[in-house]
């Protein structure tokens, strides 16, 4: 692994709650959840910048909506 840098992350109570829930659900440390989120955000951002679109389809496949990402 490449060298790692440490930073302090300030989260609100609800944000920390979500982080803890995701950490439990995904069987990941909180750091690993943040790193996964960063990877996904970058991947989506690059593909959208290239002109791609991101869609979410409902489980029954009856609805499909474009997901707008900042």
């Amino acid at each position: 692994m490449g060298g790692k840098k440490t930073m302090t992350l300030n989260l609100t109570e609800p944000e920390m709650k979500v982080l803890e829930e995701l950490s439990l659900k995904k069987d990941l440390s909180k750091t690993a959840v943040i790193r996964q989120a960063l990877r996904l955000y970058q991947l989506v951002d690059v593909r959208l910048t290239e002109g791609g679109k991101l869609f979410i389809e409902s489980a029954d496949k009856n609805e499909k909506a474009e997901l707008m990402v900042l």
């Binding site: 490449g2 069987d27 990941l28 996964q36 960063l38 970058q42």
Partner: protein, 202 residues
């Protein structure tokens, strides 16, 4: 790309002995140039020979590694690996770290997804009568497992197998979840942390 290099072992198919090789955490320009200078001419000549004999060609023979590496350049979600021995690239692998598991017992948890894995043409049984080096697939799977553990994914890995490689992944102890219509019907395989432990003990 992290640029780490670690020592691995391949099987010299002529002698049956082990030979030392280097596993690169990252696919460099040198690896890609080697693919273009060494892999492609060998691949072309062997494919010509196979066509003449009517034998099936390797299903990865159309892969363009430069395009694949360019596509993932700078993206944190992808990682590349290369195995080098005797100054030549013996195998390449691209993995993705943003895939969820599909097996019911670990569904939704993250795994390292092996997007592409290929050995040099002179190491492929489908191409040459006497492959030069073996064990590259095992080295690459072990690298994917190590990455999965480093990332906190407990060693979980997954991949879609080309039909010619199905037996190999089954022999590695992976679970075959069957044909995946979203991936041209290719069979999807997954390895649980327990299967990883058994694989590494072999």
């Amino acid at each position: 790309m992290n640029g780490d290099i670690s020592k691995v072992w391949l099987v010299d198919k002529k002698t049956g002995g082990l030979v030392e090789a280097s596993l690169y955490d990252g696919i460099t320009e040198a690896h890609l140039k080697d693919v273009e200078k060494s892999w492609m001419p060998k691949l072309r000549s062997e494919l010509q020979r196979l066509r003449a004999t009517g034998r099936p060609h390797p299903q990865s023979s159309h892969w363009n590694w430069r395009d694949k590496v360019e596509h993932m350049r700078g993206l944190l979600a992808y990682r590349g690996f290369a195995v080098v021995h005797e100054g030549h690239t013996q195998g390449l692998m691209l993995v993705k770290t943003t895939h969820p598991c599909r097996l019911p017992i670990q569904r939704g948890k993250p795994l390292v997804y092996v997007d592409y894995l290929e050995t040099a043409p002179w190491n492929q049984r489908e191409l040459v009568m006497q492959p030069q080096f073996g064990g590259i697939g095992l080295v690459m799977l072990a690298a994917a497992i190590t990455l999965s553990r480093e990332e906190g994914f407990a060693g979980r890995i997954g991949l879609h197998s080309l039909p010619q490689a199905v037996k190999f992944y089954e022999n590695c102890g992976m679970t075959n979840l069957g044909s995946d219509p979203s991936k041209q019907g290719l069979p999807y395989f997954e390895m649980t942390p327990e299967q990883v432990a058994a694989f590494l003990e072999k």
